[in-house]
Symmetry: C2
Subunit: 384 residues, 2 copies
Amino acid sequence: MTDKRFVVTPWEVAGAVDYDRLIREFGTQPISPELATRLEVLLGPASYLVRRKIFFSHRDLNLVLKDYDKGRGFFLYTGRGPSGPMHIGHIGQFYFTKLLQDEFKTNVYIQITDDEKFLEVKRNLAYMDTQHWADENILDIIATGFDPDRTFILQDTEFVGHAYPLILKIAKRINYNLTKAVFGFTGETNVGMIFYPSIQILPSLLEKRRCLIPSAIDQDPYWRIQRDIAEGLGYFKAAAVHSKFLPPLTGTQDKMSSSKPETAIYLNDDDKTVRTKINKHAFSGGQATVEEHRRLGGNPDLDVPFQWLYMFFEPDDSKLEKTREDYRSGRLLTGELKQILAEKVIGFLHEHRHRREAARAKVRQFKYDGILAQKMWKTDFEKL
Amino acid sequence: MTDKRFVVTPWEVAGAVDYDRLIREFGTQPISPELATRLEVLLGPASYLVRRKIFFSHRDLNLVLKDYDKGRGFFLYTGRGPSGPMHIGHIGQFYFTKLLQDEFKTNVYIQITDDEKFLEVKRNLAYMDTQHWADENILDIIATGFDPDRTFILQDTEFVGHAYPLILKIAKRINYNLTKAVFGFTGETNVGMIFYPSIQILPSLLEKRRCLIPSAIDQDPYWRIQRDIAEGLGYFKAAAVHSKFLPPLTGTQDKMSSSKPETAIYLNDDDKTVRTKINKHAFSGGQATVEEHRRLGGNPDLDVPFQWLYMFFEPDDSKLEKTREDYRSGRLLTGELKQILAEKVIGFLHEHRHRREAARAKVRQFKYDGILAQKMWKTDFEKL
């Protein structure tokens, strides 16, 4: 995946995203109509994720559902690299995971990869920066509403020591060539980064059931190594469900980027900033003048405000379809559509930040004291 | 170091050991006559280690003594890979380190590299085996008589989590090429082994003073990487003093080997086994018959029983020289020399095992509760 216009690795997404090509090149499966039908039924209020093809690709999701049917259950695993403040693009994955937890009543493991973020030479973060962002990001993650007794937030720099025996067993089965093939590591890569896949695989082995990883497809390489080695260690190959990237405000190409603040809305952007960013930077599928727009209508497929409603901010299908139709017909103007999105985003951020304040009191529960967290800290990894 | 007759790496010593060549090829310094004179004065009862050239090579030992003179002090670091029972060849290094601690009143850090021993594919030890041997080996190490308030035994699988922030800072500065050049790692090497040098370097950075590492020269490659990166992290380059290998019973070539029990005397060999091994396997520098021996005399330089007395079991110079002279002249027969050694070894092992029993009550002190151990467990490695 290294041609100039289209690059997807765990560290970079550039160019227009061709999801069918991603499925081919990453070697994953598209979600078949049969699987989509089953999922829709199971997912209830979260079924729009399937209907709208926000979940577009998977590995072994059919086996996960089979395990669920048979009562064997499964668990969810996702993560966050704490390199800076979180934006709308980052938090979507956590809301999706929380919806899956609500529907399937599963355990969720959330890995905070503060060690990896420190080791990444490109970012050159100081160690204390990674700790600061870990604390901040954890509040945003808790704010999404996970069940504190079924969710374990494991911060690598805290948990690696406890789980070290299992990490060693993982590391013993991964050689340099494999990491080179999957991640493109070179002789210049530091030995921390080379070791790191062992730690990223750890949460997928925290239960002897199938693990489902909801993530953007760019994280898929980690799970390919997991799938190479898990069964040899007596665990299950990780299953995955891949969601599309929420496009950056500035257009339907590339991904939101922390280095280009106009491409993203941060969870702590104030109302005025949200309105300004959307009005000023959101890429529009409308026409050049109001008159032309009334006559020709807008193109919702190219319009980022519409795409944001579609992907995240308007789960109600009938409302969404009305907006689409109004926009396409020219009844709804670009400025009006932008305002619909701005109000949705502002409302979401108000609620998110309200829950984020309440999250401060829950951190210990997710990390140490909740039922699942306690169980993990009491697990004797020497005996696994 | 890979020609057929003479191989020295951290995992293998084969062929006749040419110490001058090791100095050249490892790029270390011989101990100069001036340095030897200073050391002899400082070392008191341990000065025979210098006089007999058991310490034959070093890095920056002159700087260590300078720091000592100026009151800045230094600290000692050594280690053990717990892959099996310890023999006489293993324990020598710890006795030497203990003598240095006695004379200089320094802190000593002893790393138990149980993680590395698990990761070594060649050995293929089960995880629980490494834990068993760690427990056993620690008793032997404590039995050598270290000061429990100035000595910290850090077992990697216990301490890595606590010191992880500093380990990450080390790992960030070591790339794959460097480990490849120093250790000959290949694409087949597992990522745990590739990461491991970061952990082996850790103890050398536990104080912001110069660290002196007494070891066999085959461990030197680790310190070359340490010396590349320590100053960049705000620490001192490690200094080293290298001791000769105690030759295997079977001859003055190669090293004692756990896979050839006749080459070594184990710390738990009983009296009869010791006598049998020495009588049966100890390579002799004597003549074929008693008559010839009386007439021609023996060769103490080739005689392993004499070498063992020289290297470890007879610190008294005048007694040693008398034995040498008696043997060279033919007054002392091979069987008699073997018996002298056997009694020394048996006496040593009795005392060692007596102290080893007493060591059981001291393990917690060395690992957790002694003054130095407590200080280490209270150190906030995030802030370093």
